[in-house]
Symmetry: D2
Subunit: 256 residues, 4 copies
């Protein structure tokens, strides 16, 4: 399909005295940082310092808004209305915009976090609310989402540029959705295989589903995990893999 | 001194299911709304609707950042560092900026809330941090503060436009500071007297202190209280008083 | 069925500077106060003063634990695990137990709040977790729930005493569940009719469903609303109605 | 002075997805665990599991209530009233009591955290409020405090049993207070020296101040740090040091 790809990673999810994620070690390998905005993780001080480090590394900065559930790290679905979702996204993207202004950095994108991301993939009204929120704060922001999800289609329908996110280390269903984490075959454990799959997704727009079927997938940006025992190793491998394959690794850039 | 004045009021301090303040009734009489940003009061939904109403009324919008102390309504001093203060102001002003962008309203000013306002009046390093935060988010924002306070001098030294805030219903010390609320003579209870004093502060830049001395005071904006039994009556009286005295009541406008 | 009934009301849901509910006016008419515990509403100071007032009035005190969602007032369903539910109930009931100890008041009961109550009515594992939490903190606590709900059956299976809660001002389905608030006929608007229905539920254990069918219902305690324009009037009417009908209005008492 | 001592450590300060402290590794060496209660750190799930582990290890359990400042980890002084302090201590101790009941463990003690501990050491009204709160929840609880502090004297005046806490790795002023952390000589960096000092504090009730003066100090319990690079090593060393010196290491037990 294409010969370039973005590597994004959730960053700045530490909070107060609490440290989480291997931000420092992962930064050299990514091109877009999804910065937590204080609802599911992150705090004002962490937001500032994460933007500063991203800027120093030449990594593009995006907002990573989540549900107001610090204790659950934004991973528990909540029955929020589209209005709630709109408001919480405007609030969090705005807060990060404050720090971006202060650092003279332009926000590149928005990627919803955890349960908010998953809920918006399948609920059209939530997806539409989030897309409008992003567009209303800044129409040049790029919205990240699963290919084929409501987030992508709603973002396009309000005129936002989108980036489809793929997962190198996850198996896919025939319909292009991710295999549920409850299944034992949800993940690709072999790093080399994951890299090979990622390259194919980017270059050919194809992936073999968990049922062995060849499916189409648009992969503008690959999600790199920032924690877990092998996060850094995997980040390094995938970056090298792309470079060796002659695929340019670079940020998606701003829309419009 | 001058023949114009701004009337500001803290607005949008309701939270979730909780209502506080007489926003709707006070709006017709003010020219600048200080909108709470979620730390001491306010929430994303209230922020959005408060900006919408301000816009409808032609009232200028500013951010009203406070300490992260919802249970104490931002009224309890906290031993925050200048860095903490910087970060919490950027965060909150940024969050409101998100809603301002969405409503296509330009933020006019920032007024710190409660204990943050009082601490910054007397602590130079806090004042300097807040002034830098405001300037870094948007150098066109006007910073409100007590005349003679560190907030005003630090704001000026980083190049911000400032607005000196005066209180029509409070007594002043000889040095221009407010009489402590712990003293029985802290407040002016007679509304007519308060109006007369306010007019004199604006027009002549003078006020008689609690000790009977004539002191100078710069009053660019008068603080209107949004709650209490007589808030609305007082707001109406002071607005009428100024208009009858031929003093233009209008928002301070943006700096630079 | 019986000639006595308890009247319960959610109390102490104010928070910090925010006031909600007509606690003071409703207290004379109720026999059991469900005291919010700080998660969906309430704060430590409000908890203390609510218990003090309940004690003064001779009203029994119970815990009213909710989801950790202050901004949504505990009304938004959250995808919490049974373990989450167990822990949040132990925490909140324990916190209220601290104030009960301090006031030398014995806690009588627990009534889950809002979305937690509704979720536990239909999810057996959540109901079981809540029942165990209550029993583990104090096996003499009475657990309130909808008649026929999982909360009641799970409470009984862990050996707790239960109290079935009925709603005088709500219509019922044939299966004993409440008519959804989304339907226009969810509520009984006429106070006299509500009183008549309540008396019949208590005395005969019967109610006419929204479809005109006669259904059985166990009504140990009637829920009185503590806010809304007619809350106090309704509380007074129902209390008088019961007394005139010769039905003793008294707290459910402690189990075991 | 005595031939026994308690070793206490702050435990259970993890929160949600965030891990902090080396609880697992430190547990074998301590006799009293100060369990965070959700205000400055800790959450209901962590409270439950920390009590379970303490019980398994035979370690006594106490409450570690802090200021409501998760982002600041309870380390920033806040201008709370004595009533605020009373209420927040009752709430937090009560919440832990819920989990203690559920685990059939008796709470042994209360140790205030961070800024609350430090503020109460020097403000008599705060100390008195905290002492009353602890006594009102359970008069058998032992209150920990700095020797000579208001916490100790106020606890005694309301009839609580107290335990004076000493720090093996901190220098002391002539008046028995700790050398400020801002001074370069605040800490004892050599572990062996710290152990020797601790043994002398317990056995002789004496310590050499930072100015070389011999001062009296009552050391019922020694604070073990649960984090930092050498926390576990130090915990092990001090435990061994006491045992080799023939000083019994055991929990303070309950009062009355």
């Amino acid at each position: 399909m294409t010969d370039k790809v973005d590597l994004n990673c959730d960053m700045g999810e530490s909070f107060g005295a609490y440290r989480i994620g291997a931000d420092e070690a992962v930064f050299p390998f990514i091109t877009s940082a999804n910065v937590a905005c204080g609802y599911h993780g992150g705090d004002p001080s962490v937001m500032r310092s994460t933007i500063a480090r991203a800027r120093q590394r030449g990594v593009a900065v995006g907002a990573h808004p989540g549900l107001p559930d610090l204790i659950g790290f934004g991973r528990r679905a909540m029955d929020v209305t589209p209005e709630d979702a709109y408001d919480m996204v405007v609030y969090q993207v705005g807060a990060l915009l404050g720090f971006a202004n202060a650092a003279k950095v332009e926000l590149q994108h928005v990627k919803a976090h955890g349960a908010l991301y998953n809920m918006a993939a399948v609920k059209q009204d939530l997806a539409a609310a989030i897309a409008r929120a992003v567009r209303d704060v800044d129409p040049g922001l790029v919205l990240f989402g699963l290919p084929g999800s409501h987030l992508i289609s709603e973002a396009e329908s309000v005129g936002l540029t989108t980036a489809c996110e793929a997962f190198a280390d996850r198996n896919y269903m025939n319909d292009g959705s991710l295999v549920s984490r409850r299944r034992p075959d949800a993940q690709i454990h072999d790093a080399d295989e994951a890299v090979t799959r990622a390259i194919r997704m980017v270059r050919e727009g194809k992936i073999r589903s968990v049922d062995g079927e060849e499916i189409s997938i648009r992969a503008d940006t690959i999600c790199i995990h920032g924690d877990g025992p092998h996060a850094v190793e995997f980040a390094e491998k995938i970056r090298e893999g792309f470079e060796e394959a002659g695929i340019a690794v670079r940020a998606v850039g701003r829309g419009k």
